[in-house]
């Protein structure tokens, strides 16, 4: 299978603190790859290295075989890497459909002169992206909400709008940073299905940061575990769940077991 993204020995240092320490990551085309790990383990920093926010001090990031570290984020986006954010970052005072239209930016042909003159091909292009943006909103389930300001949308809708904006980039690789954070189990399930759907339908490779193990274990083809900036394990969900290092550093006994423990204590007290 073809490799879409490859990180080789990527390291990122913040004033003495090694946030990402020589991490290797290989993501094959069409995969859903998850990155898990405790808070502060360097997951988001790794994302930022891939999407061009940070330039790693060491190592290479290759996208479809081309080195992309050091490139500005807009160039990275134009190449086909789109992302969402842990704490939703939309253009709050623009309408939802405009948010998506901004996502088409790397693929627009016509500049300010043509916009000033409103040439026919400029108008055609604009019309095209309005239609496409509306279609994308429809696709993520926000049909009819497009003219609302982004900040007026409910929480779940904002998460989806963020994905729609990322999809408007027409990415080959989609980075999702905690897409189910703050969702209830129903919404989480729907999101899980949707992520899989995007992958299958649009043939986009997806890298996921996620805390909800039900999501991660359910949809991932490959899971990488980070701890203190280092990759401590990699493999498919089964392997990860069985990996003792992961359990020790991250998973613990599991929520069900914990819950059981507290309930026992409670009855004990009583």
């Amino acid at each position: 299978m073809k490799t879409v993204l490859e990180a080789r020995q990527v390291s990122k240092i913040f004033g003495g603190l090694v946030a990402v320490n020589k991490v290797d990551l290989v993501v094959p085309e069409g995969a859903i790859a998850s990155i898990i790990g405790p808070n502060g383990a360097g997951k988001t920093t790794l994302f930022n290295c891939i999407s061009g926010f940070y330039t790693p001090e060491l190592g290479d990031v290759l996208f479809n075989g081309r080195k992309i570290q050091g490139m500005l984020t807009d160039k990275v986006a134009a190449m086909g890497i789109a992302r969402t954010y842990q704490n939703i970052r939309l253009f709050k005072n623009m309408s939802a459909v405009e948010n998506v239209m901004v996502g088409f930016e790397p693929h627009l042909k016509h500049g300010w002169m043509k916009a000033m003159l409103k040439t026919p091909d400029y108008q055609k292009e604009q019309k095209h992206i309005i239609n496409e943006a509306s279609r994308l909103l429809h696709y993520v389930g926000l049909a009819g909400l497009g003219d609302n300001l982004a900040l007026n949308l409910p929480y779940g809708a904002q998460r989806r709008l963020e994905i729609a904006r990322a999809l408007a980039n027409q990415p080959k690789l989609l980075l999702l940073d905690e897409p189910t954070a703050g969702m209830n189990p129903q919404e989480t399930d729907a999101m899980k299905d949707f992520i899989r759907h995007i992958r299958d339908d649009l043939e986009i490779t997806i890298i996921l940061i996620e805390h909800d193990m039900r999501v991660v274990m359910n949809i991932s083809d490959q899971i990488s575990v980070l701890d203190y900036g280092q990759k401590i394990a990699e493999g498919n969900p089964k392997e990860i769940q069985a990996n003792p290092r992961v359990i020790e550093a991250y998973l613990g006994p599991g929520a069900a077991a914990l819950s059981e423990k507290y309930r026992r204590e409670k009855t004990h007290d009583a």
Partner: protein, 523 residues
């Protein structure tokens, strides 16, 4: 009456007492009374002290307001006459006593022959006596107490009355609104021709008015027009692309000086054609936008603000400096700048120039709208709201920020060139920091990112001080206060920007809906 209520009333009285004293100290009591007297149609010579009755009206207005404010302490309670009487009386009494104490001190000092004006420039002997109603200090002070209390109580009663009739006023207003909605406004709103008719009327007025309203208003409105140009430009930079630029005057100066130096016989004797020079001025300003922008692309927010402020100051200081004197004429400025010519004829009367400015404004509004509503405007807005994310979404932020700077600068260049041409003179003092601040203020007062807002803001900012000329040396004081009040009561600006409706319905059979369109509650 509980303790809290008494405290609040007393506080209101305190505030109003201080206001009255402040007005007295800055001589506003005399000037405003004079204005009232003039408004009542009585003449008032220069330097003459106005009549006591106009002063009483002035004090009365303040007193009534005091009583009104003191009475309405809580939005939710219903007022009763008893409540109001106590509150307003306390407020009036506190204010009155405070003013009396002031009057006693000032009056006594004045009577003892001390020249208060050595330290407080407005406290002439006459104005102090005027403040005491030309009575002795004790009588004058007591009149203040009595009058302040009386007026406050009246204000309290007015508050009750207005509250009792509020329901009625509200229902009347609603019914009128409903009627107009049904009868004509609603119909008109639906009618696509209305806006054309209005547009026609405005155009007609734009054609007719410069001919009729005289040189002074042509001058004032011309200045307003030039500030509209500046505002449109800065609106692109600050309002759309979100770069806080405090040195906008640099572009204005570059436009003005480029035009001036290429058309004036002194110092270079390049007497270029008006239109060529205009184009060169605009281009020079746009280019300077790019040049200034390039090194500072990484800066954001207040850092950008201070750096651009520095650029503005550098340009101004250089223009007036000795080292560039041979090139820019130093502090003396450039004179004999050309007016517009067309086919060998020159159009330099105020009316012609007004038309030129109107044309420039209309053209600029047209262009600014085009850009704002295009994908470029969208990219700018995205940058202004979250630059990091905009860039990660594929927006070439450097390109767009530079574009915004250079387009904004081009508007400033146009404004500068017209400004220089109209005045036939430009000097370094035309390009001081206050211009940048004024333009920024007009953009925000009008409503960030809103083109009609810019027009309104320019009227408010450049028109208002002219209207306030009646207030003479108080006009900037009043202007400053109005600015604060405006920001408090309407922070979004006079005419906030709206986002256009764009979404088009999608045929249902196109794609399956993969997510239930639920909304996870509200914020």
């Amino acid at each position: 009456m509980n303790k809290q209520s008494i405290q609040k009333s007393a506080a209101s009285g305190l505030v109003f007492g201080i206001i009255v004293i402040f007005f007295a100290l800055i001589g506003f009591t005399v000037v405003f009374s004079g204005l009232i007297q003039k408004a009542l149609g009585q003449s008032l010579g220069v330097g003459q002290i106005p009549s006591i009755s106009s002063f009483l009206i002035f004090l009365g207005l303040l007193g009534i307001w005091n009583g009104w404010r003191a009475s309405r302490q809580d939005k939710h309670e219903t007022l009763s006459v008893k409540k109001v009487l106590g509150r307003s009386a306390i407020a009036g009494l506190v204010a009155g006593v405070l003013v009396m104490v002031y009057a006693l001190i000032v009056g006594a000092l004045n009577n003892s022959g001390i020249n208060l004006r050595t330290y407080l420039s407005q406290l002439s002997s006459e104005s102090v006596r005027f403040f005491l109603f030309n009575q002795t200090i004790v009588v004058g002070g007591l009149i203040h107490v009595f009058y302040s209390t009386l007026m406050a109580v009246i204000g309290g009663f007015l508050a009750v009355a207005s509250e009792r009739s509020r329901e009625r006023v509200k229902s009347t207003r609603e019914s009128i609104q409903k009627w107009s909605q049904d009868r004509w406004l609603g119909k008109l709103q639906g009618n696509p021709y209305v806006s054309y008719v209005l547009m026609g009327v405005v155009l007609l007025l734009l054609v007719l008015l410069p001919r009729t309203w005289g040189a002074y208003w042509n001058y004032v409105m011309g200045t307003v027009g030039i500030y509209v140009l500046l505002g449109l430009g800065l609106n692109i930079i600050v309002g759309l692309s979100g770069q806080l630029v405090l040195g906008y005057v640099a572009f204005f100066a570059i436009g003005a000086y480029t035009f001036a130096l290429t058309t004036s016989p002194e110092p270079h004797n390049l007497v270029w054609n008006f239109w060529i020079a205009l184009g060169v001025a605009v281009l020079a300003a746009a280019l300077s936008g790019i040049l200034i922008g390039l090194p500072i692309m990484r800066l954001r927010g207040d850092y950008l603000a201070i750096v651009t402020l520095g650029f503005g100051e550098i340009i101004r200081i250089l223009l007036r400096s000795d080292i560039l004197k041979d090139f820019t004429m130093g502090p003396r400025g450039v004179r004999n700048i050309a007016g517009p010519t067309l086919f060998g004829r020159s159009f330099t009367t105020d009316v012609d120039f007004m038309y030129l400015i109107i044309l420039a404004v209309l053209l600029s509004i047209f262009l600014a709208r085009r850009w704002q509503e295009s994908s470029i405007g969208r990219a700018w807005l995205a940058i202004s709201q979250d630059e990091t994310v905009a860039q990660a979404t594929g927006v070439d932020t450097q390109k767009y920020k530079l574009l915004a700077l250079s387009l904004g600068a081009a508007f400033a260049g146009l404004g500068g060139a017209l400004f220089a041409s109209r005045n036939q003179f430009t000097g370094p003092e035309d390009h001081a920091l206050m211009v940048s601040i004024n333009v920024l203020v007009l953009v925000i007062v009008g409503g960030m990112g809103s083109i009609p807002g810019v027009v309104l803001g320019a009227f408010a900012l450049k028109g208002l001080p002219e209207i306030l000329r009646e207030l003479e040396s108080y006009r900037l004081l009043v202007f400053g206060a109005l600015l604060v009040v405006m920001m408090i009561i309407r922070p979004e600006g006079l005419w906030p920007a709206r986002r256009p409706k764009l979404e088009v319905p999608v045929e249902q059979d196109h794609e399956p809906v993969p997510l239930p369109a639920t909304a996870g509650g509200e914020k």
